[in-house]
């Protein structure tokens, strides 16, 4: 049971990192990015081919992979992250040329499907359908931990990485750069009229999301010790998007809560139908249907998500002449309107 909890928490931490990346392109920039899982896969594959030794295809197992540099864990993860960011930069350059949301959705979807097709079909690029496997537990050659101890260690590592990703992204979110991204999302014409280069901002935001995805993917591959085209599909991306929608667009804490809720709640819900789960193919289908229905219901009844996006708040009293009327006017206004979530009653803050 304890081991099960450790597994759930490790996968949960990695999922949280992944959803933070989705949140950059979907939440901050408002882009319909469907290639996200491709960057996760790129990070996973990149980390593996950097860490693994050279492939030795045997006659019985003809599949092989490129590189095989036998690098240590940490530089591999960092380089994999950079590769994911670079890949997003390339895709973004094509997809964002026409500054229309529709195009981005279609081109990213096509990119993702094409990369899946190529990696699955080509047996000598990244192992084809079988994928890559046989990675040694990272860092354990120096740590020499037993299976239980190692699982605790890797959980700790994932939580540390999650914290790191969270802090880095929060810092960027609060910076002028993050604010510019949200201005582009809210009204791009006005953002351009106030000196924002729409293409560059969108591209940078897109690449940042891709890099975070690749980072999470590298950690995931190092946890699973194997990766293949079936490890990651549009279904998983839908669940991540569901996490963003349920948790609250652009709110880092909200999306983490949302994704953890969805990833941990869905398997439990499908187990409530013992009759259905006896059929192994139906369980995942029920989970997907519930996840997708959850997105629709959430969009309908709570469009802002569980936690509202945080806005900059000024808590200084302001000029002396105005002090008496400030609290009454600024905090008591009801914030119900179409298109924006009502959020929780919790006051959101972001003080400088």
């Amino acid at each position: 049971m304890l081991q099960y909890t450790v597994t759930v928490c490790t996968v949960g931490a990695i999922t949280a990192i992944l959803v933070l990346g989705v949140n950059v392109s979907w939440g901050w920039v408002g882009q319909i990015d469907l290639a996200y899982y491709a960057y996760v896969a790129i990070g996973a594959y990149a980390a593996m081919v950097l860490e693994l030794p050279k492939a030795h295809p045997a006659p019985t197992t003809p599949n092989s992979y490129i590189l095989g540099l036998h690098w240590p864990f940490i530089p591999s993860v960092l380089v994999a992250t950079a590769i994911g960011g670079a890949a997003a930069l390339v895709v973004g350059t094509i997809a964002l040329r026409r500054l229309r949301g529709d195009y981005i959705a279609i081109i990213t979807a096509c990119t993702a499907l094409m990369l899946t097709a190529v990696t699955s079909v080509d047996n000598h690029l990244l192992g084809g359908y079988i994928g890559i496997y046989g990675l040694a537990e990272p860092l354990n050659t120096t740590l020499h931990l037993g299976p239980t101890g190692y699982s605790y260690f890797y959980l700790g590592l994932c939580i540390f990485c999650l914290l790191l990703a969270y802090l880095v992204l929060e810092r960027i979110y609060k910076s002028p750069f993050g604010r510019s991204l949200r201005a582009v999302r809210e009204n791009d014409t006005a953002a351009a009229a106030f000196g924002r280069n729409l293409f560059w901002l969108r591209l940078r935001g897109y690449a940042l999301g891709g890099a975070v995805g690749a980072f999470g993917g590298a950690l995931f591959a190092n946890y699973l010790l194997a990766w293949n085209p079936a490890s990651w599909s549009l279904t998983e991306v839908t669940l991540l998007i569901a996490g963003v929608v349920v948790g609250g667009q652009a709110n880092s804490r909200g999306v983490i809560i949302g994704s953890v809720l969805i990833e941990s709640a869905l398997p439990q819900i499908s187990q409530l139908f013992p009759l259905l789960t006896s059929n192994s193919t139906i369980g995942p289908s029920i989970a997907s249907i519930l996840g997708a229905s959850g997105i629709i219901l959430m969009l309908r009844f709570r469009p802002g998500g569980l936690l509202r996006e945080r806005r900059a708040i000024d808590r200084t009293g302001g000029p002396a002449s105005l002090v008496p009327e400030v609290p009454a006017v600024s905090f008591a206004r009801p914030t119900t309107a179409t298109g924006v979530g009502v959020g929780t009653s919790r006051e959101v803050e972001r003080d400088g």
């Binding site: 040329r97 949301g101 979807a109 499907l113 094409m114 929608v245 193919t281 997708a292 309908r300």
Partner: protein, 288 residues
């Protein structure tokens, strides 16, 4: 030449589906990620009817009815309530992605995830000029031509077509000038679903066996054709479908056929890099 022959058949199917999507997009301005599922339900409807009768027209009617019904449901139950609340494009798009997943998984539960066989029409081969086609290939192309011509006449010559173009130009304006925009949009979804369902049946007949991801797997091709032609452009969509269909099948002769769909995407990238407005100049530069 074998490649070109196959290409024309593929192009016919792609053209039907792409034109349906373009028509729907130009009128509703909604990118429907569940478009592939319209094709899939069409294919399954034809598959079910084929169990009791080998009558092709009856199967086609079933495919069109299933597609139209799904299109209508998507509009009424899913998109309209949100459009009326002024939902953003992002929200509408997420809805269609969610719908696509729900439909695929419902089909998965109903029919299972494994391939079902669907044989339609005769497989007798005929030599027509340099091409070699089966009877079903010829039927497919003929159906595509008839449907596209009928659609052209509907849009250019009928009151419904004029109203549809009015809505496509400006929903608000159409509403104020008395065109029943809501009714036109509903009818457009019906039409979109019917044509896509028919395309799904023809596609299933071509590939011989399929799964609940039939249409979804074809979405890339449809999107590519739509963008190559200039999105929202009906005639561009036909041209885009022709280009994509030919390139896919001709390339399959020379490179690994598994890359067929990826070829469609390469064309798409090339067009976006060198002629981003599509082959046929886009209707309008509406900003997001």
């Amino acid at each position: 030449m074998l490649g070109v022959g196959f290409g024309l058949v593929t192009a016919s199917i792609v053209a039907l589906s792409t034109v349906a999507m373009s028509l729907q997009f130009s009128v509703t301005r909604t990118i429907n990620f569940a478009h592939g599922e319209l094709m899939t339900v069409g294919a399954y409807a034809a598959f079910l009817v084929a169990k009791s009768t080998s009558d092709l027209p009856l199967q086609a009617v079933a495919a069109m009815a299933a597609g139209a019904a799904l299109g209508w449901v998507l509009n009424v139950a899913l998109f309209q309530p949100f459009v009326q609340r002024n939902a953003t494009k992002l929200v509408i798009f997420v809805l269609s992605v969610a719908a696509s997943f729900i439909i695929q998984n419902v089909l998965q539960i109903g029919f299972g995830g494994s391939y079902v066989d669907y044989q339609a029409g005769s497989t007798t081969a005929y030599n027509v000029g340099p091409f070699q086609w089966t009877a079903m290939d010829i039927v497919t192309m003929a159906v595509a031509v008839v449907v596209l011509v009928a659609l052209h006449l509907t849009i250019r010559r009928t009151k419904f077509g004029r109203a549809q173009r009015a809505v496509a130009d400006d929903v608000l304006l159409a509403r104020t000038t008395g065109v029943g925009a809501k009714r036109i949009i509903a009818l457009t979804w019906l039409l979109d679903g019917a044509i896509a369902g028919l395309a799904g049946m023809l596609l299933a007949a071509q590939v011989g066996s399929f799964t609940p991801t039939l249409g979804f797997g074809y979405l890339l091709v449809i999107f590519s054709a739509a963008i190559v032609g200039g999105i929202g452009q009906m005639y561009g969509a036909m041209l885009g479908a022709l280009v994509i269909g030919l390139v896919m099948e001709v390339s399959a002769v020379y490179v690994n056929p598994s890359y067929k769909e990826s070829m469609a995407f390469l064309i798409l990238v090339a067009v976006l890099l060198f002629r981003p407005q599509g082959i046929v100049t886009a209707l309008s530069e509406s900003n997001t």
